[in-house]
């Protein structure tokens, strides 16, 4: 029964969701909102589990002085600081000017932006590897990327300004993006759509069971 009941619920809800997409009449029209609301409620309750788990693992690490336990201590201190300040400030904790808002604006946002900024360096290192002309495909990629990058900046059109309108780098870049790139991306999207249908059918029909441990 431990497997049968989840499979039965999945099958019924899955078929119900397929049907509701084609029926605009109540109660089918409310199904999506109901389930979305329930998902949010369950998710909100589950965040407590997540937070408790984070604290449990961090406290265990500090108590047993495991390797790098100092980072765990920082997690605990930060967690307690933000939770206590948020609770002390009550329901207006997000109003500009509060201590919580200060922490958010001047600690969280800069830290987040710093992580995002690292992306610029990683793009450079990954591009260097991807664009090395090792074989025919990589060379093709390099040439296409060169034209697209040059076509996206003003200097591209300055260099090719003497050429007819349609042959300038900006037009060439647009052509690469609008035709070969769009065609390839749509082919991937069609495959993804079919993959989702197939996966959903396997889950709804109970053929795919690995998420509940597999087996018959």
């Amino acid at each position: 029964m431990r497997r049968e009941i989840p499979l039965l619920i999945t099958g019924i809800v899955g078929v119900g969701f397929v049907i509701q997409y084609f029926i605009p009449h109540a109660p089918f029209s409310y199904m999506s909102d109901w389930f979305s609301d329930w998902f949010s409620i369950i998710g909100a309750c589950a965040i407590v589990l997540g937070a408790l788990n984070l604290m449990k693992i961090s406290i265990q690490k500090v108590i047993s002085r495991k390797k790098d336990w100092g980072y765990a201590a920082v997690i605990i201190a930060s967690f307690l600081l933000i939770v206590i300040i948020g609770m002390v400030e009550g329901k207006d904790f997000r109003v500009p000017g509060t201590n919580f808002d200060w922490l958010y604006r001047y600690m969280y946002i800069p830290l987040s932006a710093t992580m995002f900024a690292i992306l610029a360096f990683f793009v450079a290192s990954a591009s260097y590897r991807a664009f090395r002309a090792r074989n025919f495909e990589a060379t093709l990629l390099l040439i296409a990327a060169f034209f697209v990058m040059m076509g996206r900046v003003p200097v591209g059109d300055i260099i090719t300004g003497f050429m007819p309108e349609g042959w300038r780098l900006s037009n060439l870049a647009s052509w690469v993006m609008n035709y070969p790139q769009a065609a390839g991306q749509r082919a991937i999207m069609i495959g993804i759509g079919l993959g989702i249908v197939s996966t959903s059918l396997r889950v709804i029909l109970g053929i795919e069971r690995s998420h509940i441990g597999g087996g018959e």
């Binding site: 078929v15 605009p24 790098d68 495959g191 889950v203 690995s210 441990g213």
Partner: protein, 417 residues
């Protein structure tokens, strides 16, 4: 419940859906716009500009009685050469009550969909053209009510396509179940899974599994969790250490259940620990910082990046690359695929992510579902080919029949909501 039990329901379900369409189709009559032609005049208003005319309201078809459509002919002073009209205001009265403004519209507007309405209420409208110094109102519409529909006939072609693809998937699952051998092309990224886990075992290092940053309502996360089921089974057999930091509490719960079930299936429930999966944070870059730190400190031998990723894809993949791990990535977000291809050893492109669990299981009935997908692909290729040929012919020599067929194909593959 056995899988076969659900199969038995399927023909009945399909028949029921078709019967549903046939039975309720007579009820799908759209209300004639003529019933609601404007006839009466609103209270006196300034008329130094011409008012909008022919204001028509009709029920929006195929909805739950929540919307009305309005169309009108803009004021003649709204023409670009005249340019007197600065905008429009649309007014509504509910059940004979006071008129009140429901929206403002820009010059040149000639239609509006009024949504979030209720059934059983009489709605009357009029529209006012505005200029710098004058207002001119149209005549009022007749009272109209919204109507609920049972079927969305705008989606009839989508329903048929979904039926064909679903039927082909089920047909091939049944064919495989009867024992017929089906050819499935090799997917390099999935062929490497066992080797990657084996290498981690030999090196005595851990495996890091990142299921993306979306929740369990994302099909890619579900696909990642199904692959986790297969991976953790091999991990349990090899007695390797798996580490899975997650950014959603529900994913943590689902992943724990999946790994626990795999360890039990492998006959090693004692080796399972809840700490294999742990929650970090819902915040995107907070999660990235934590996972990057885990990669740098633990130096895992194998990293799986499977699921839904956004800007963090390259940060994670490049950090994994820098610690020398074998990386197997997969996502159905086309914008992130180039990053994974550049930074990872193997990348599951789009549909391969969804095929992975079936492929790794090696079960005929699961592989059959992959074969069913191919029918959908063949159909898509055929339609694209026909449409390209027809569009080319239509450009070279405009023929009415060719244009008609092309328009029909466009209509079939355009989803109207």
């Amino acid at each position: 419940m056995k899988t076969i039990g659900l199969f038995r329901f399927l023909p009945a379900l399909t028949s029921f859906s078709i019967a549903f369409f046939i039975i309720f189709s007579p009820a799908l009559k759209a209300q004639a716009p003529d019933d609601s032609l404007s006839t009466t005049s609103p209270d006196a208003l300034a008329v130094s500009i011409a008012p909008p005319t022919s204001l028509v309201v009709f029920d929006y078809k195929y909805d739950d009685g929540e919307a009305l459509e309005l169309t009108w002919v803009p004021s003649v002073d709204d023409l670009p050469v005249v340019g007197k009209v600065t905008g429009y205001e649309l007014y509504r009265s509910d059940n004979g009550g006071e008129f009140y403004k429901i929206t403002e519209l820009i010059p040149g507007s000639n239609n509006f969909r009024d949504e979030d309405l209720s059934t059983g209420v009489n709605y009357v409208y009029y529209i006012v053209a505005l200029s710098a110094d004058a207002r001119a109102a149209s005549v009022k519409t007749e009272a109209i009510q919204t109507h609920r529909e049972w079927l969305n006939f705008n989606l009839k072609y989508l329903f048929l396509i979904a039926l064909i693809i679903s039927a082909s998937v089920i047909y091939f699952i049944e064919t495989a179940r009867r024992g017929k051998k089906l050819f499935v092309r090799k997917i390099a990224g999935l062929e490497a899974v066992d080797d990657a886990i084996g290498q981690a075992t030999e090196m005595g290092r851990s495996i890091l599994f990142i299921p993306g940053i979306n929740d369990m309502d994302e099909v890619q996360t579900l696909a990642a969790i199904t692959i986790l089921g297969r991976v953790s089974r091999v991990v349990a057999d090899y007695d390797t250490k798996i580490h899975m930091p997650v950014s959603r509490s529900l994913v943590m719960t689902a992943a724990r259940e999946t790994i626990k079930a795999s360890y039990m299936a492998a006959g090693r429930p004692d080796a399972y620990s809840d700490d294999m999966v742990h929650y970090v944070t819902d915040e995107q870059f907070g999660y990235v910082a934590a996972v990057d730190a885990i990669m740098v400190r633990e130096k895992p031998a194998t990293i799986f990046l499977l699921g839904s990723f956004f800007a963090e894809s390259l940060i994670l993949a490049e950090t994994g690359n820098s610690v020398g791990a074998i990386q197997i990535a997969g996502t159905a977000r086309p914008a992130q695929l180039p990053f994974f291809i550049a930074a990872c050893d193997f990348t599951l492109i789009g549909e391969e992510l969804f095929a992975a669990s079936a492929y790794l299981s090696g079960e005929p009935k699961q592989l059959g579902s992959l074969k069913g997908q191919d029918v959908g692909k063949a159909l898509a290729m055929l339609v694209i080919l026909i449409a390209v040929i027809l569009a080319t012919i239509s450009e070279i020599r405009p023929l009415e029949t060719v244009r008609y067929v092309l328009d029909f194909l466009i209509q079939v593959f355009t989803i109207k909501t």
